[in-house]
Every structure is written in structure tokens, then in C-alpha cells.
């Protein structure tokens, strides 16, 4: 299937590629279905909220991948750790939102420090070594959190309460709306950073062509550390929005989210931030709807189903929905 060659980012040309047509058709389908059935609409909305969280984590993964060609296996655990930090801050008496923003700052520093201490020494030597370091970090962080706070279930106050709105007969929880709003805000802020600021431009340059960026004076290593910091902030948001959705805090909080995040990132194309978010939402909505209407899909099959869809998409488009095709004729 010959797909329209996608020009690299920067052009504002509108492309009627099959991917956009497909997504457009999907949106129409969701709209029609939601108007027809309240259950459909409810599953769609909560699917979007769920997917927004997957998309946040996927975006974090894509950020790091674009800058360093590395998959950060520890992204989920870093997000989980920062959620525990928020928990601790609240235990010490801070309000939810005070803890929220302080946690974001802590996450930024955490991400930067991780890059500096663990990744920088190996990043130029071997990609596989860096990946293994992130796997080691996964295990290490998991152990540290469980050691410091214990593996038992903890409870955090709900940021948006438990109120459920009724919009035209459709039950929509305040939590879901809040999740969508917060993740949307963080994604938009990040986009604005990259698009409009000098720092953002420097980071893009460092990710695209590190050698050329160094020549114009961009401190490439510093940009990488900042990138990791921003990815950690996205992860923190994902963690803080996952906890109320599952009602408890425990060390395994982000492990399924990480897996769905991987699926979303690959689905969208590993070098596409837009793809990560779209992929996340797509997976969230798809799983909810399929779980509702297809009886084969029970809870233990959700993850394999997500990955089966992913594998299917990869067979058709090996670099994901929005990924760039690397032409390599043999």
C-alpha cells in the first residue's frame, strides 16, 4: 500500500493521506455512535480520558526517543515514583494542588538528574547499553519506592472529586473531564514551548542534528537533560491522573500504563509527538468500546488486544500512523 510520502515537520500543507482519512472516518463513527447510544458515549468519553493518560506517557517516550533514539523503559516507574512524592507531600500537610505543582518541579529535576548521572556516561557508547540502563532503572526505582513506602495499598485524595455530570443523558465523571483538561493543557504547553521559544528551538535542533546544533552554540547535552526533565514532568502528570482512575496507589501503578504507552507511541510513530497523543486516545477509546461490545474481550485480554491491533497497524504501516518512512531500497 503506497502511502503518501510525508514531508518532515515544518510544512503547513494539508495532506489527504489515507491516515487522515481513516482518522476522520473514525471520528465520524464515534460521533454518530455517541449520539445513538448513551453507553457508547460514556465509554467513548472515559476512553478519551484513559487514552489521554496513555498519550501523556507515550509523548514522554517519544520526546526521549526523538532526542536520543532510546526507549526509556523506566518512564513508567519514574512516573510512579513522582506520584509517591505527591503522596508524601500531602501526608506532610500540603493541599492537593500545592503537592501537584511541586511534584512537577521535582519530576523535572529528577528527569534531568537521571539523564546526567545514568544516561550521559553511556549514551555515546552503545544504544543497547542505554536501553539496559533504563531497564536497570526500572528495577531500581521499583525497589526503592517499595522499600521507602512499602508495597501496600495507599490512598490519595481525588483531585476532582467524585461528582458525575449528566450531559444530555450521558454520565460523565468530573474526574474524566479533569484528566482530559490537565493532559490537554500539558500537551499544549509543551507544544508551545517547542514551537515558540528559543529553548524549544534549541531542543528541536539538538534532537534533529546534534552536530550542526553544537556548531551554532546549542549546548546539546544540556538540551538532552532538559528533554528528560520535561518527559519526567509528562510522566508525573500521567501518574497523578492514573491514581484516581484506579483508586489506589501501589508500586505497580504505572506498569500497565507503560505498556499501553509503548503501544500508543509505536502506533502513532515513534518520532511523532502528535502520533503519540492520537495513538493513546485511539487505544483508550478502542479498548473501552471493544470491551463493551465484544464479549471475547475480557479484562485479561485487553493488553494483548491492544498489542494485536498495534501489530496489525505495523504490518500495514511499519513506522506507525504518523511515523516517517525511512526509505531503504534493497
Amino acid at each position: 500500500m503506497e502511502l503518501a510520502r510525508r514531508l518532515p515537520t515544518g510544512t503547513r500543507a494539508l495532506r489527504l493521506s489515507p491516515v487522515f482519512l481513516f482518522l476522520g472516518a473514525a471520528c465520524v463513527f464515534l460521533l454518530v455512535g455517541s449520539l445513538e447510544s448513551t453507553v457508547f458515549a460514556q465509554q467513548t468519553v472515559s476512553g478519551v480520558a484513559l487514552g489521554a493518560v496513555y498519550g501523556s506517557l507515550a509523548l514522554a517516550l517519544v520526546l526521549i526517543y526523538r532526542a536520543t533514539e532510546v526507549i526509556n523503559f523506566a518512564q513508567g516507574e519514574m512516573a510512579m515514583a513522582t506520584t509517591y512524592v505527591a503522596y508524601q507531600l500531602m501526608l506532610w500537610g500540603l493541599s492537593y494542588w500545592e503537592a501537584f505543582f511541586i511534584t512537577l518541579a521535582v519530576a523535572f529535576a529528577f528527569g534531568g538528574v537521571v539523564q546526567l548521572v545514568f544516561i550521559r556516561p553511556v549514551q555515546h557508547k552503545s544504544v543497547i547499553a542505554v536501553v539496559i540502563v533504563t531497564v536497570g532503572l526500572f528495577i531500581l526505582i521499583d525497589g526503592l519506592v517499595a522499600w521507602k513506602w512499602g508495597a501496600d495499598l495507599k490512598f490519595m485524595p481525588a483531585p476532582f472529586g467524585n461528582h458525575v455530570y449528566k450531559l444530555g443523558g450521558v454520565a460523565v465523571s468530573r474526574q474524566d473531564l479533569g484528566t482530559i483538561a490537565i493532559t490537554l493543557a500539558s500537551v499544549v504547553l509543551l507544544w508551545a514551548l517547542f514551537r515558540f521559544t528559543k529553548l524549544g528551538l534549541g531542543m528541536r535542533a539538538a534532537a534533529l542534528r546534534p552536530a550542526s546544533a553544537a556548531l551554532v552554540g546549542v549546548r546539546v547535552d544540556r538540551m538532552l537533560a532538559i528533554g528528560w526533565g520535561l518527559a519526567a514532568v509528562l510522566g508525573a502528570v500521567a501518574g497523578l491522573m492514573t491514581e484516581p482512575a484506579v483508586f489506589v496507589l501501589q508500586p505497580t501503578l504505572m506498569q500497565p500504563v507503560l505498556l499501553y504507552g509503548f503501544a500508543a507511541a509505536v502506533l502513532g510513530g515513534l518520532d511523532s509527538p502528535v502520533g503519540a497523543v492520537v495513538g493513546g486516545i485511539a487505544i483508550g477509546v478502542f479498548l473501552n468500546l471493544v470491551g463493551q461490545y465484544v464479549h471475547f474481550v475480557t479484562s485479561e485480554v485487553r493488553l494483548p488486544v491492544a498489542f494485536a491491533v498495534l501489530l496489525l497497524v505495523l504490518l500495514i504501516k511499519p513506522t506507525g500512523l504518523f511515523g516517517r518512512k525511512r526509505l531503504r531500497k534493497v
Partner: protein
């Protein structure tokens, strides 16, 4: 893997040590050693795939699961001889590997890695869904269990056979083709190397090795095959083992297998942090440190040392 006198001598030494070892070890330690052999076979398989044809897989836990469950089910339902089940597991996994290798041709690099990761996540869930035949979360138990000594002997014999097989494959025409593919796919194809055949073949061989490892893995856990034994963590362990091993060195493979097979157990005895969480902290830290110090694995270290010796 080179063919010079020194490596052959080291092989002989290794064989002698391994043959003598069980008499010095308790049953518990024999079981540990068998676990090292199990990982050795799996890591060797992954090494052939990733190290030699450059196709990254984080999904070998899935093939181990298939092999392990094959052994468990054939034993439980048909009371089949265990070695026979392993041979069948080998064949089945070889075919599965070919089946995975074919679509894998379309994927490259990190996309392939994550696609195989998808397998690692999904395959262990299958017994949960089809619990009637595959045992569900309760698992499948073999008809008979084996002694630790038998396990030690069988697993290390299999490891030796696997190593010899791997060595034969890699030094011949197939091996040259594999190495050509790793170094440059475009150049290899232009030289007439049938890319699809060799890449798929590599997957098949690699999966077959993992399947046999899976059988031993199940036997090592009292003949009990369970979904959570074959979690994502297992695939990651094999990957870690292969990274620690590095490329193309027997001692590297042994080091990698020992690292993954022994370290978690040893680190659980660390008193300071104690308990399961301490074990994770220690294991994670050591994995990171090893990668920081030896980014090209033990094989890389050995290569550097031999270069230093050559210059001296």
C-alpha cells in the same frame, strides 16, 4: 567465535569443571546451576538473532513460554518422555520463530523490538484466556518431576549441544550470511545474500533455542508451567543477559547467563536492605553499573584485553 588453540583449551577446561561440579554442590546449588544453563541456551539464541543479524527481540520470553507449556502439556496429557517433549518444543518453536520472522521482515530497529515486546506481553496471557486446555492461572503440571542432578546434567548437556550447534551454524555459510546482514543489509543483498531467508531462519533458530530453554525453565520450577513465570520480566532478563554477555564470546555468554541466573538469588541474601525490595534495588544498581562499565558486555572487555595483550 574464533578457532584457535587457546579457546579450545578454555572449552575443555569449562567442560571438565562443569562435569566435576555437581559432586561439590548441594541440590539447591545444582538447581541454580541448571538455571544458569537454561539462561545460557536462551541468551545464546538471542545472541544469534540480535548479535549476528541485528534484529532486536525483546520477546524471547514468549518462545520460552511456548516451549515450557509444550513440555508441560505433553507430559501431563500424554505422559511423554521429557526429552522427547523438548525436541517437540524445539520444533514447534522453530516454526513459531519462522512465523514471527516473516512479518518481522517489514519492521526494523526499535519498531521490531517493540513488536516482539508486544509478543512477550501477550503470549503469557493466552493460557489465562483459554484456561480449559492451558491451565489458566492455575498452570499446568508435568506428569513427573525430575531430580536436581538430572536437571543439572540434562541442562548443561543441552547447553553444550546448543553451543556446538551455534558454533557450527555461525562458522559456515549461514554464519557468514548472518554477519553480512548485521554489518550492512544493503551490501549483503547486493552481494546476493537472500535476505528474507536468512533473517527468517535466524528467527527460527533463535526461537528454537528459547523453546528448549523454556522446557528446562518449567522443569526447574518443579515441572510447573504458569503464566506469571513467563512475564515481560523474563524477556527483559534474557535481553540483559545478552547485553552483559556481549557478542561472540563463550565466556561472555557464560558470564551473562550467570549474571541473570544467579544475581537475583544472591542479592536476596543482602542483609542491609533485606527482603524482596532490597533485592530489586541491588539487582537494578548492579545492572546499571555493569552497563556503565562494560557497554559492550563481557565479550567487549575480553576483546579489549586481548588487544592490549597483542600490543604489549
Amino acid at each position: 567465535m574464533r578457532t584457535r588453540l587457546a579457546p579450545i583449551a578454555s572449552l575443555v577446561v569449562a567442560a571438565v569443571v562443569l562435569a566435576a561440579l555437581p559432586f561439590a554442590l548441594s541440590a539447591y546449588h545444582q538447581a541454580l546451576a541448571a538455571q544458569v544453563a537454561t539462561f545460557f541456551i536462551a541468551i545464546l539464541g538471542l545472541d544469534i538473532l540480535t548479535g549476528y543479524t541485528g534484529q532486536i527481540s525483546i520477546g524471547h520470553g514468549a518462545f520460552m513460554a511456548i516451549g515450557g507449556y509444550t513440555t508441560a502439556i505433553l507430559s501431563r496429557d500424554h505422559h511423554m518422555n521429557l526429552v522427547l517433549t523438548m525436541l517437540i518444543a524445539l520444533a514447534i518453536c522453530f516454526i513459531c520463530g519462522l512465523l514471527v520472522g516473516l512479518p518481522a521482515l517489514r519492521l526494523s530497529g526499535v519498531y521490531l523490538a517493540l513488536a516482539t515486546f508486544a509478543l512477550a506481553v501477550s503470549v503469557p496471557q493466552i493460557p489465562l484466556k483459554f484456561s480449559k486446555y492451558l491451565g489458566g492461572s492455575g498452570g499446568v503440571q508435568t506428569a513427573k518431576t525430575v531430580s536436581h542432578l538430572w536437571l543439572y546434567g540434562a541442562s548443561w548437556t543441552a547447553a553444550a549441544i546448543a553451543f556446538v550447534l551455534g558454533w557450527l551454524v555461525l562458522r559456515g555459510r549461514t554464519g557468514r550470511a548472518f554477519r553480512a546482514i548485521r554489518d550492512s543489509e544493503v551490501a549483503a543483498a547486493s552481494s546476493g545474500v537472500g535476505l528474507p531467508i536468512y533473517k527468517t531462519l535466524a528467527f527460527g533458530i533463535s526461537a528454537a533455542f528459547a523453546g528448549v530453554a523454556g522446557s528446562f525453565y518449567v522443569l526447574g520450577t518443579n515441572g510447573f508451567a504458569q503464566p506469571n513465570e513467563f512475564s515481560v520480566l523474563l524477556s527483559l532478563q534474557i535481553l540483559i543477559g545478552a547485553a552483559v554477555a556481549g557478542l561472540g564470546s563463550l565466556w561472555g555468554l557464560l558470564a551473562g547467563a550467570a549474571f541473570v541466573g544467579l544475581l537475583p538469588t544472591i542479592s536476596s541474601d543482602v542483609p542491609v536492605i533485606g527482603s524482596t525490595h532490597g533485592q530489586d534495588v541491588v539487582f537494578g544498581l548492579i545492572v546499571i553499573l555493569v552497563m556503565l562499565v562494560l557497554p559492550n558486555g563481557v565479550a567487549g572487555l575480553l576483546a579489549r584485553l586481548s588487544r592490549l595483550r597483542a600490543r604489549a
